[in-house]
Structure formats: structure tokens, C-alpha cells
């Protein structure tokens, strides 16, 4: 199974965790990102995710590979949901198994941070008030380019 994948159905955490089991590992660290009912002071009704899958899969695999070599962990995987998600659902799942807990925590943290910054995935928030907006895109777009860049929304690299 690829170590980074997308799914349009609910993430089965038990299944993903089983795939990382290894007799040489004494620690397993996991991060789950959940759909929250509010963001930036607005009440969120549901979320919608889309991805540029061909590139996202490559970039996701690269991140997992970087984490494994950088922290020397045994196995690592990440799953991300696409489509419409309700409040409380798991949007992203990261799991890492390693001989010891320290590297497992570091690698899991690295993977989720890099995925959020580098993988071409977009999130649209649908608000209780009826309107919606693409996260990180709409407010900077209405400001002049220079201001938007100063707000730190410009992408890394």
C-alpha cells in the first residue's frame, strides 16, 4: 500500500494502525486532524476538500520518505480525506512506528506540518450563515498582493 493516500470514504484508523505494526517497534505515534465546528471566529457547518491528486500523491510520498530517513523511524503513513466532511470526522491521519517513542513523535509532527504546507490540497469552509470560503485564499486575494505577502500567506519555497 502507498504510504500517502487519499480516500473519499471515512478513514479507518484501526486498519491504518495495523499496517504499521512491526515486531522491531516499541512505539507508535499518531495524529488525527478533525473537522472543527468553528474557525477564525466563524461557525463552520461542514468542510469540503479537493486535491491536485497526481502531484499531491508524489509530494505526500516525498514527505513520508523524508520523515523516515530524517528520524530513522520504521514505518510511516498518512491518509487524507477528499470531498464533503461533517463536523467531528477525521480529515487527516498520520501514524508512525519506531523502536522508541521519541523519533515516532518527531516524525509524526514533521509529516503533518509538511503536509499542511506543501501538498496541493484545498479546504473550503461552509459556514452556518450560508456562505463559504477557500481557506488561505479569499482574504489575501481581496488585499493587494504586497499586503497579502506581508501577512505571511505566501507559499513556502
Amino acid at each position: 500500500m502507498p504510504t500517502f493516500h487519499f480516500t473519499r470514504t471515512p478513514i479507518d484508523a484501526a486498519d491504518l494502525r495495523r499496517a504499521l505494526a512491526d515486531p522491531a517497534c516499541g512505539g507508535f505515534a499518531c495524529f488525527e486532524g478533525w473537522v472543527r465546528d468553528h474557525n477564525d471566529g466563524r461557525r463552520v457547518q461542514h468542510l469540503e476538500y479537493e486535491a491536485f491528486e497526481a502531484l499531491a500523491l508524489r509530494e505526500g510520498e516525498r514527505i513520508i520518505h523524508e520523515a523516515m530517513t530524517r528520524f530513522g523511524v520504521t514505518r510511516a503513513a498518512c491518509a487524507h480525506r477528499l470531498g464533503d466532511l461533517a463536523i467531528g470526522e477525521v480529515a487527516v491521519w498520520v501514524g508512525v512506528s519506531a523502536p522508541h517513542r521519541h523519533e515516532a513523535f518527531l516524525a509524526a509532527r514533521y509529516i503533518i506540518d509538511e503536509v499542511k504546507h506543501r501538498v496541493p490540497i484545498w479546504k473550503k469552509e461552509h459556514y452556518l450563515s450560508g456562505d463559504s470560503g477557500w481557506v488561505n485564499c479569499e482574504r489575501c486575494a481581496s488585499a493587494p498582493g504586497a499586503d497579502a505577502a506581508r501577512h505571511g500567506h505566501s507559499q513556502p519555497r
Partner: protein, 302 residues
Amino acid sequence: MCGSWRSPAAGALSGAAARVSHVQAPVYGLVLAGGRSSRMGEDKAALPYAGRSQLERAMTLLAPHVARAYVSVRRDQKAEPVRAQFAQIEDRLDDAGPIAGLLAAQARHPEVAWLVLACDLPLLDESTLTHLLAARDPAALATAYRSSNDGLPEPLCAIYEPGSRGALEQHVASGEYCPRKFLLKAGVHLIEEPNPRALDNINTPQEYAAASRTLLRESAITAKHFTVQYYALLREQAGRSEETLESSARSPRELYGELSARYPFTLPAELLRVAINAEFADWSTPLNDGDEVVFIPPVAGG
């Protein structure tokens, strides 16, 4: 030669400007389309070259390089269809020529530097703009090309720093309206043209016909087919998720400029990344026929 144009007084002025602007001011763009085109006999901004008006070509070329792009117009030109599709800044002085357009732009946004372009440079190319921006000296009052024809500064493909405003106003107050004379006496950073033909201006029907033939020939040679995929906000603004189009864009930057003229995109190129054939690429990567191009809005996974 360059140093002799910088008088001691102007040098002092530019030094003051440098101290005031601790941070390099952002650059806005201004295409001057307020002229009367009297020698041409028809509106130079509306003249078509290889199927697109000169104004549209200039705005498409300029927009990806600046934080905002405007067209400079006289009051009676505001509703004219070629000009009406762009953000406008109206002249405040009548018949004062290009300098009126620049002063009106500086009055609207005194805090930014203005990259000013004439509307009769059909051969202007990408490299002439990128070189001008890269060679910009924010401590000078302006950065301009030295004309390969006469060695004089070229005022209408130049960057005017915020600090030039006072000196420009004095220039006009003293009855001078010639922007080249202004550059000759101001503290101006002069640079060499990467492509000397790029700044050939068009004033007569004969010159128009010659430039038009050159560009038609070039576009026939350079036209390529690209597939563009749109995601998230760009998909909604383009009203489609994919299209195949013919274009003579040489780089993703030029292609995004063309698409920005066609669709109401609100994301400036500097907030996007670009992918060619499903791999991250640089904005200046040469595009090949058949390439699949994706402009990537700010991401938000997790």
C-alpha cells in the same frame, strides 16, 4: 556616462529618498493610454497585433510582475471599451502628456513605486520587464533603460520610486512636461536594454504595419497548445476545471498573465505556485507544446 546625468542636487534628493524608504516599496504598474495618437490617426491602445489590442497585450505582460496594474486614461476615455475592462487612473491635468498619468497614479498611491509603460511598445517582451525589475535601484528616483538609439534615458518603460513625486511636481510646476528631461536632471539609475528592439515605439501607420507583421510571424512560430487544470478558488473563478488552449506564452508567468486577462482571478501570481506535468516548476520554466500546467493556490490540507 551614467554618472554625468546625476547632478549633485539630485544625488542628495535620492539619498534622502533612500533613508525614508527603509523597506523597498511595492511596485504597481501603469500603462499610459491617455495619448491622442495624432500621428497614427487612430487610437494606439486599440490597435490589434496578432489578434489582441496593444493595451491588452501590455496589461497581460505587466500584470504578473506587479502587485496591481492600472491603465492611465483621460476623463473622456473612461468608458471606451478597450480601456473599460481594466482598473483605471484618471489624469488630473489636461494635455500634460505621460507625466500627468504618472502624477495621478502617485497621487492615488504615493507609497508605491510605479512601473510606467507607454502604450505604443508592441515589441516589448518579458525579459525587458524582468530585467528592469531586477536591476531596480530603490535609492535612485527612478530606474530606466538607456536607449540604444540615442543613449538617452527611456522614460516610458521605467520605475519611478515614491521619492520621485516631489521632484516630478516641481518639474511640472516649472513648466516642464517632458519626462525624459526629468530623468536627465534627476538621480536616475540607467541600465542597458537586454533586447534593443523591445522599446521601439510605433507612431505611424507604416511602423504599425511593420511591427504587426513581425508579431504575426512570431505568434505563428511560437503558438503552442497547453492543457490547464484549475483547482479550488481558481476553478470557481475560471468556471471550469480543465481546458486545452492555444497560446504563445513562453513561461507559466506569461500564461497566468494571459489567463488573468480572460478570467476574474483575484490571486496574484506571487501567492501561487506552478506545476508543469504534475511536478513543481519555476515560473520562468520554458513551456513546451502539450504541457499540462496547474496554478496552485495557497494550500490548506489537514
